[in-house]
């Protein structure tokens, strides 16, 4: 790609006459380019002195002006008011004359050179692919720099080269270019790179990614030095000074230096990238039970925990925990032991957590809703001393002997993360991390004893760590939400109203459902803070929430976090502005936490470039329980701070210019098709922008063996209230907004998205895309249509409801709610439709107990 045009500005002697110049131009042009349209000499008077800024800007404007189509050369003579000076501005199309030729034209017009001393060329010559050392160094440096921005192992740079065997006084030779393909893959050295030979661009070759633009020395502003012309929509601007910095390193490095050691970022720039933390003054580390004890001492009669209709004061909760701690001791639990807790949500679960901590043991929550086999395996892997599943066994024991409190750096709990592959890993988190977390947000969130918090999440999901200790370590009241209520948005909403909850924590998926219930459920006057976490947030659907709950009355905070870094890492307040912008920023690190975005070699990526999010600071866990290998792999030493450790998140992120972190999804999830990266988040975002869609999920499957053709994108959408259920129009809209390789193959309409027990999207329970489920025992859908005014049998009505909810043609009494893809939201829908169609109330619990259509019909008939 030759440059679009060249320009040259030359100062003329004071006696230069317009007519003489014009004649010289005509004579030369007739000689060099006979039969072509002759360039004219244009004159222009600048009403300012030649040395003024005005004149300089006018010269620059002339030089920047493109050449008209079909013209080879433009010559403009600039004269200045009251001065005998004149400047000649010569401009030529990049494909018509090269920069050297312009200098020759100028010499001829000034009379320094006879026109016939210059040999014209009448067509392009093959490019001379030999590169001089300077150009080679520059191209190499540019390739290395761009490689670091894009994380690419191979970068192509187009290098301008002169035509081969170019005569010394040629005019009209095309500026050719060669393609310098830099191999930056691991193990390559400086010598390898500098030995790279450029090649001629192949016919029909894709245009090279980058073009080197050689700036003239002394140019002003951005034109100074080498620069990159980004040609792709995603190309990042590469600062020229970084290219020069790499060039210096290339020149000064031993030939066997690995390319990975070159760094476009100066020490200062690296430090800037590493300094992504929020300043704070670190307090002395404290234990959880220590801080709790202080709350008990300060406000013994204040309400601490509400479960059902009962509320315990801080003193009562503490008494219960003391009793259970004595029981743990009686059962042989000693400091450092692990204690499994398999208790339903309630006061005893929290008291047992406190009891374990008081006994200087480590609690391991085991969700009673999980299958027993899974619980047993988790307890076995953790090597728990005992598992508490009945608090009664821990009561009535003698006081345990007094003992000094353990260290704050000691472990407090183990939470198991369910990775997509392999066994769950137990994350060992120390006391100090939890108290630091509460400290980090206490002021910003204005947490106080006036607050009422929900404990919505399972104890096995670390979001509950935040809920439980956030409330109890700040003197607030913890409202335990039982499992059934947590699965019914309307009931949960009623609980929020009843208990005057002020601090609510939710996954975005669960919050979407709560927000839907809120549309009809009346206000939430006490609610002042919603913490969203556990999943990437799509801010757009929050607009409706903001309409009902203005940000100045209820603050919405999106928190990015990881179990291995103690629940949260960053926080971003979400307002209407972010929702409208569809922001994916997760904000800044909590005070005491730090975030780095590093490349695979552990170096900071340049600003704005994507890399792996590494988390350091107060939240980094001790490691994986009994799993030294994964611990060593994920918890890595901090090269900058030898005392610290970093957790490698496996999440992709980048630092935005405003100093916040953008979360780009899991690195493992990155799927490429024909070199295009597929971003499920982006597809989902486009779907959610559709006013007809209230929730969306995207699955990307196939392509595991590198088979791009097998990659398949499927979308699932939940229609917005009042919107139609036409997947075709949703897909058509997405196809208009997404690049072809990202358009979902199918769009499946669902009444609700399936969620895991933790309230996150459960991709495993999404139905097969675009298909309707066919039940196994195909019995006739319903008896012959009943007479118009005869009441339909309840069983038939219920079957009709199931058919509508699950979207199946036929249904039989043995069809199972779960096998049909049922979830809590389907259950709610069934309940709603049952009421509407005059059936007795279908309790959610009943549906779970009698999940087949036949059994449920019978239960309803019995009036259960």
């Amino acid at each position: 790609m030759p440059p679009a045009h060249h320009a040259l500005i030359v100062r003329l002697p004071p006696d230069a006459a317009d007519a003489a110049l014009a004649d010289a131009l005509t004579t030369a042009a007739e000689l060099w380019w006979p039969g072509e349209r002759r360039p004219r000499l244009w004159t222009e008077t600048v009403p300012a002195p030649a040395g003024s800024g005005t004149a300089a800007r006018r010269r620059a404007a002339e030089a920047r002006r493109p050449v008209a189509p079909g013209h080879r050369l433009r010559a403009v003579l600039l004269r200045y008011a009251g001065e005998h000076l004149a400047d000649l501005v010569l401009t030529a199309g990049g494909a018509a004359l090269d920069a050297r030729s312009l200098r020759l034209v100028a010499r001829v017009l000034r009379g320094d050179l006879a026109p016939d001393a210059v040999t014209p060329l009448d067509g392009p010559l093959p490019p001379d692919l030999r590169m001089d050392g300077e150009t080679r160094g520059l191209a190499s440096a540019l390739a290395v720099t761009v490689g670091r921005y894009e994380g690419a192992a191979s970068v192509r740079v187009a290098v301008p080269v002169p035509a081969r065997d170019r005569p010394p006084y040629a005019l009209g030779a095309l500026d050719g270019y060669a393609v310098f393909t830099a191999d930056l893959s691991p193990g390559r050295t400086v010598a390898d790179l500098l030995a790279t030979e450029p090649s001629a661009p192949a016919e029909g070759d894709d245009p090279p990614v980058l073009t080197l633009v050689a700036g003239e020395p002394g140019g002003d502003g951005d034109g100074d030095g080498p620069a990159m012309l980004p040609t792709g929509p995603d190309a990042l601007p590469v600062p020229a000074h970084q290219v020069r910095f790499v060039q210096e390193q290339l020149a000064g490095s031993a030939p066997n230096t690995p390319l990975s050691q070159l760094n476009p970022l100066s020490r200062e720039e690296s430090a800037e990238q590493l300094a992504f933390r929020t300043p704070h003054k670190a307090a002395a580390p404290l234990r959880i039970d220590e801080v709790f004890a202080a709350q008990v001492a300060a406000r013994p009669d204040a309400p601490a925990l509400t479960a059902g209709s009962a509320t315990l004061s801080y003193a009562e909760l503490d008494d219960r925990a003391e009793e259970l701690a004595d029981g743990l001791y009686a059962h042989g639990v000693r400091p450092g032991d692990l204690v499994g807790l398999c208790l339903p949500r309630g006061a005893d679960l929290v008291a047992a957590m406190l009891a374990a901590l008081k006994a200087d043991a480590v609690y391991v929550p085991l969700d009673p809703e999980h299958p027993a086999d899974r619980r047993e395996r988790t307890a076995r892997d953790a090597k728990v001393r005992l598992t508490v599943d009945d608090p009664a066994a821990l009561t009535g024991h003698p006081r345990r002997p007094a003992a000094a409190r353990g260290p704050a750096a000691g472990p407090a709990y183990v939470i198991h993360t369910s990775g997509s592959t392999g066994r769950p890993k137990g994350v060992l988190v120390p006391h100090a991390n939890v108290t630091a977390l509460v400290d980090a947000v206490r002021d910003d969130f204005a947490l106080s004893p006036d607050d009422a918090w929900t404990c919505f999440h399972s104890a096995a999901f670390d979001f509950s760590v935040w809920e439980i200790w956030g409330a109890l370590l700040t003197g607030g009241r913890l409202v335990v939400v039982d499992h059934w209520t947590s699965r019914q948005p309307e009931d949960f909403h009623a609980l929020l109203v009843r208990e005057r909850v002020s601090v609510l924590s939710q996954t975005p998926s669960a919050f979407t459902q709560l927000a839907a219930a809120d549309r009809t459920g009346g206000g939430l006057p006490a609610l002042r803070l919603v913490v969203l976490g556990g999943e990437p947030l799509d801010a757009r659907p929050l607009l409706g929430w903001f309409d009902r709950h203005p940000e100045d009355r209820c603050r919405l905070v999106n928190m990015y976090g990881i179990t291995e870094t103690t629940v949260h890492v960053t926080a971003a307040t979400v307002t209407r502005r972010e929702a409208l912008a569809g922001s994916r920023s997760v904000g800044r690190p909590l005070p005491g936490w730090s975030v780095r975005v590093l490349d695979p070699h552990g170096r900071p990526v340049p600003p704005g470039a994507p890399g792996e999010i590494h988390v350091g600071g107060a939240g980094v866990a001790l490691g994986y329980l009994h799993r030294p290998a994964p611990t060593a792999e994920r918890f890595v030493p901090d090269v900058v701070d030898p005392a610290g450790r970093l957790y490698r998140s496996g999440d992709l992120g980048r630092l935005l210019p405003d100093g916040t972190l953008e979360h780009l999804g899991r690195i493992d999830d990155q799927v490429k098709v024909r070199g295009f990266r597929i971003e499920p988040g982006e597809i989902r975002h486009v779907l959610l922008e559709d006013p007809a869609v209230s929730a969306a999920a995207v699955t990307v499957t196939g392509g595991a063996g590198g088979d791009a053709a097998a990659v398949r994108i499927d979308a699932y959408v939940v229609p917005a209230p009042g919107a139609g259920e036409d997947p075709g129009s949703v897909r058509d809209r997405a196809a208009r907004l997404l690049p072809p390789h990202m358009v979902p193959a199918t769009v499946t309409v669902l009444p609700a998205l399936p969620l895991t027990a933790n309230g996150k999207l459960d991709p495993a329970r999404l139905p097969a895309p675009g298909t309707r489920r066919t039940p196994a025992p195909a019995v006739p859908a319903a008896p012959a249509a009943p007479a118009a005014d005869a009441p339909e049998a309840p069983a038939a009505v219920l079957a009709g409801i199931w058919r509508d909810v699950f979207g199946v043609e036929e249904i039989g009494p043995d069809d199972d709610f779960w096998d049909l893809g049922g979830n809590s939201l389907y259950a709610i829908r069934i309940g709603t439709l049952a009421r509407e169609r005059g059936l007795p109330n279908v309790a959610l619990r009943q549906l779970y107990l009698t999940p087949t259509l036949g059994a449920l019909s019978e239960a309803l008939a019995r009036g259960v």
């Binding site: 679009a4 222009e44 600048v46 009403p47 404007a61 433009r74 920069a99 034109g223």
Partner: protein
């Protein structure tokens, strides 16, 4: 002196697309209000505008307004007498003066003498404009005559009718013919036709003028559709009675008064009484509308008629 509207919002880099050349000296980046006098904007920085009838009056006001916003200019005028027109038209001196004023505002200027009835002259001017500035971004079809007028239709001679239609309607079409293809080829451009309230309503004893200006509004709409796929916009501005500004050396109102054989002052007073806003339109008011239509601020406006008449035609 009016017109121009002062420093408007600075509208991005504004240049004609990103300047990706720059192998030569000077900054690589484009845009910016290069060489602009202080106080001007950059809404048209890097753009080239061709204006007909630029020697004086509305043409001069438009030229200055565009110059202040960073445009380089090609200024055309008949710069001489036209047989059959009963009043003196713009002069070469007036055209040069407009050029001087625009240079002082920071523009590079090319002036040409050209009669809009002469297609070859317009084509030559367009070619020179492109050769000099590389491209043409804006065409303001401002040239027009108001007289011979002042008589009922049956008293207009064949020659008078032909002259009026040929200048006021045909002139705009010829300029479009000379420039439109170049704009279409480059995939951008804005054409502004200066019509009149006489393009929207009738005026007694001005049959030729009213017919020509109605025709110009029609031409605007048709050509807008011709060029819409190529992102070339075509719009009309319909000024009401514009005050003859001294600095602009306008004399349209005076000539209309003379056609009607009434004293200028009386004619002006009558027009002011007719205006709902009780004031005549100033040349700068019209130039501001032209500026908006010339700039990217109106990038989705085409085939439209912008009336600048103080409300005259609304009743």
């Amino acid at each position: 002196m009016t017109g121009g509207g002062g420093p408007g919002p600075v509208n991005g880099g504004g240049g004609p697309g990103p300047v990706t050349g720059g192998g030569g000296p000077g900054p690589v980046t484009g845009g910016g209000g290069a060489g602009r006098a202080a106080g001007g904007g950059a809404r048209l920085a890097g753009r080239t505008a061709l204006i007909t009838g630029a020697a004086r009056g509305l043409g001069r006001a438009c030229a200055l307004a565009l110059a202040r916003e960073g445009a380089d200019l090609v200024l055309l005028d008949v710069a001489g007498e036209l047989p059959g027109v009963p009043y003196p038209l713009g002069s070469a001196s007036q055209l040069a003066h407009t050029g001087r004023l625009c240079r002082e505002a920071g523009s590079a200027v090319l002036t040409r003498q050209a009669d809009v009835r002469d297609l070859a002259a317009l084509e030559s001017a367009a070619e020179a404009a492109e050769e000099r500035f590389g491209r043409i971004d804006v065409l303001v079809n401002n040239a027009g005559i108001a007289a011979p007028s002042g008589r009922p239709a049956h008293e207009i001679t064949e020659a008078e009718w032909q002259l009026m239609i040929d200048v006021d309607l045909g002139g705009a079409w010829r300029a479009i013919r000379a420039v439109g293809g170049r704009m279409a080829a480059q995939g951008s451009g804005s054409i502004v036709n200066i019509a009149s309230t006489a393009g929207l309503v009738g005026y007694r004893h001005f049959a030729g003028y009213v017919a020509a200006k109605h025709g110009l509004v029609g031409l605007t709409k048709a050509v807008a559709l011709d060029y819409a796929p190529r992102k070339v916009r075509v719009n009309a501005v319909c000024p009401g009675s514009v005050r003859d500004d001294e600095a602009m050396e306008g004399r349209m109102l005076a000539e209309i008064a003379r056609s009607l054989e009434v004293p200028v002052a009386e004619h002006e007073a009558a027009f002011v009484r007719d205006q709902p806003m009780n004031a005549l339109v100033e040349p700068g008011d019209v130039a501001d509308a032209v500026l908006w239509l010339a700039s990217d601020e109106s990038r989705r406006v085409t085939g439209s008629v912008v009336t600048v008449d103080g409300g005259f035609t609304t009743r």
